[in-house]
């Protein structure tokens, strides 16, 4: 039991070329993961009184995997994938998203968010809703707005589609806060929020997400050529391993250093986790009354009678 069964860890390395790097300690039983997640999606929808789900399909691995899992849970006919490129988004992203839609046979919708974003910030010297800007808005502001416009589109489409918005954020980005609050992190429920990026890749490979999607460098695609790893300064396998030992296995700084993690990386990741705590929790409420939601009024989210229909 202490050793990995032969072959399991080698899964992603099958064939001539390695599909992705998988740290041994992050290897999971993908059959069980798939089973639990598919049940989770079914239950979340059913308990809320919905039969359908929708999600923003970016062409990246996270949303592709969630699309596959949701299609497996409720059938492709009950899934709507919304493609929401901005004018600078990589055309390859939309292409990859289209491949997923085609393979799954689910409904899709293309919403160009450029007019919404440009309408706010302005474009080519034309002022937007913010008025005449002295300087171009920072990539951070633009990226956040794009993520939140996409959220607006999804929640609007959730009404016309009569479905719930399915989350597509993974554990790695959630822990380091590489998300936009009320943007890409907004959802009714998140099936892959407890899977590290390395584990997302593993399940994606097992469920048959197209190889080019698994293979390509993860990117928020907020500006041309952006990649997560270049922006963060470390690779996902490194980061996933560190987070796993730091958080799941409760190793101290000294122990992490002894394991060979660089001190600067440990410091930096610890800080990222700490300063993003607010993104992972519901906003706090000042305690005043006898019973306060989230404090001493504690009901299951899906209690009897909570379903819409």
């Amino acid at each position: 039991m202490s050793e990995a069964p032969a072959g399991r860890q080698n899964g992603p390395n099958d064939g001539a070329e390695q599909l992705f790097e998988l740290p041994a300690e992050l290897a999971i039983d993908t059959d069980i993961a798939r089973r639990v997640i598919v049940d989770f999606i079914r239950n979340q929808l059913r308990q809320a009184g919905f039969a359908r789900g929708l999600l923003g399909l970016s062409g990246g691995i996270d949303s592709a995997l969630v699309a596959y899992l949701t299609a497996e849970a409720v059938g492709p006919e009950n899934l709507l994938c919304v493609l929401m490129p901005y004018r600078t988004s990589s055309p390859a992203s939309v292409e990859d998203a289209r491949v997923v839609v085609e393979r799954l046979g689910c409904a899709s919708d293309l919403v160009d968010i450029s007019p919404m974003v440009d309408g706010y910030f302005g474009r080519d010297g034309e002022p937007g809703a913010t008025g005449a800007a002295k300087e171009e808005a920072s990539p951070l502001r633009r990226g956040n707005l794009m993520a939140r416009e996409r959220m607006c589109v999804l929640y609007d489409r959730s009404v016309t589609w009569s479905g719930l918005v399915v989350g597509t954020g993974n554990k790695t980005e959630s822990l380091i806060g590489y998300t936009t609050l009320f943007g890409d992190s907004a959802c009714a429920f998140n099936p892959i929020g407890d899977l590290y990026k390395s584990q997302v890749r593993q399940v994606a490979a097992a469920i048959g997400v197209p190889e080019q999607i698994i293979r390509k460098a993860p990117s928020a695609d907020l500006w041309p050529g952006q990649t997560d790893e270049a922006e963060a300064g470390f690779t996902y396998p490194e980061l996933d391993r560190l987070l796993f030992w730091m958080i799941d296995k409760r190793r101290t700084d000294e122990e992490l250093l002894a394991m060979g993690f660089p001190g600067t990386t440990v410091e930096r990741v610890k800080r990222l986790v700490a300063i993003s705590e607010f993104k992972r929790q519901v906003p706090p409420v000042a305690k005043l009354g006898p019973r306060t939601t989230g404090v001493d009024y504690l009901y299951p989210r899906r209690r009897p009678g909570s379903a819409r229909r």
Binding site: M1, A4, D31, I32, F40, N43, P300
Partner: protein, 317 residues
């Protein structure tokens, strides 16, 4: 001896829907009876669901609740272990398991150990039971009934076996977690439980029946994998992970005798030694003197008195 057919109900209760779960229990009890079962075991909080939080008070039943009695009324000629939120006369809430037999509520076990760590928050909502007793059953043997976390404490199966149980029953709502490829069954929780069940069965030379639920409450999934382990520590039956179902398994209660004759571990248990050392440990923990006069066993055991006194004498300045 005629084999005993046990029906393990690996069900997915609906959270907070007592009436719906009661109806399902009735149906499954009928199915188990039709399948020739003498004992049918339902999982922990099978009548209410697990992740109740503040719903606990809303689904609680007294031991004489008509709904519980009506379920009991359907147990003529069959034994059933069912689990629910029990409200005591003084309005404490317990996680309880009842043995229903021959039309009545024969016995109630209140969960002794309430996990309140990690993903668990039971002590916030429930009171812990104070009694650990076996119960005589129409099956001809004493049963030892425990609930989930009770079996993460060695004293529970040990005490039940010393009290005469030959069939230990654990009803659970064990959340699956610690997903990894390195585990035999891909799920850390399942590996731990399997190790415990086999160990208890072997050490108490008793049958161990483990009934764990499936389905999901909120974010947590329950992994099933219900089992029956024989008194030699070998699995007689293992239900699949995550699949809902009613599984029947036949056991020979005579295996207990065979095992205990061949491997007389229970005969050789030393409860008086255990008790003496426990008294000492408790006294040391609380900083109190050991009160020998209050120990009714001290006078009956030759040898250890002197040794005990001498050892204690040495330690005292």
């Amino acid at each position: 001896m005629k084999p005993l057919r046990i029906a393990l109900v690996q069900s997915a209760p609906r959270l907070g829907l007592l009436d719906e779960n009661l109806a399902r229990h009735r149906d499954l009890l009928g199915l188990a009876r039709a399948a020739g079962a003498g004992l049918v075991v339902f999982p922990e909080l099978g009548l209410t669901g697990y992740q109740l939080q503040d719903l606990a008070a809303e689904v609680a039943m007294r031991e004489d609740d008509p709904r519980l009695l009506s379920l009991a009324a359907e147990t003529h000629g069959i034994s059933a272990v069912v689990s629910f939120v029990e409200e005591a006369v003084d309005h404490r809430l317990f996680i309880s398991a009842a043995l229903l037999e021959d039309g009545e509520v024969r016995f109630i076990h209140r969960k002794l150990f309430l996990p309140t760590y990690g993903l668990f928050d039971e002590r916030r909502f429930f009171a812990a039971g104070d009694r650990l007793r076996t119960v005589d059953s129409r099956l001809g043997v004493k049963l030892g009934i425990a609930i989930c976390e009770d079996f993460w404490h060695l004293s529970v199966p040990e005490t039940l076996a010393l009290d005469g149980a030959q069939l230990l029953i654990n009803v659970s709502s064990s959340p699956g977690r610690d997903l990894a490829a390195i585990h035999e069954v891909g799920l850390g929780t399942a590996v731990s439980w399997r190790t415990l069940m086999r160990t208890y069965a072997q050490l108490t030379t008793s049958f161990v029946v483990f009934c764990n639920r499936v389905g999901m409450d909120e974010t947590i999934s329950f992994w099933g994998g219900s089992e029956v382990i024989g008194p030699s520590g070998e699995a007689v039956f293992t239900a699949p992970l995550f699949d809902e179902g009613l599984y029947t398994v036949d056991i020979e209660l005579g295996d207990v005798r065979r095992e205990r004759i061949g491997l007389p571990l229970l005969r050789d248990e030393r409860p008086e030694l255990h008790l003496r050392e426990l008294r000492r440990i408790l006294a040391e923990r609380t900083g109190l003197e050991i009160d020998e006069a209050s120990d009714p066993l001290e006078g009956r055991v030759a040898g250890p008195i002197g040794m005990n006194a001498a050892r204690r004498g040495e330690k005292r300045p």
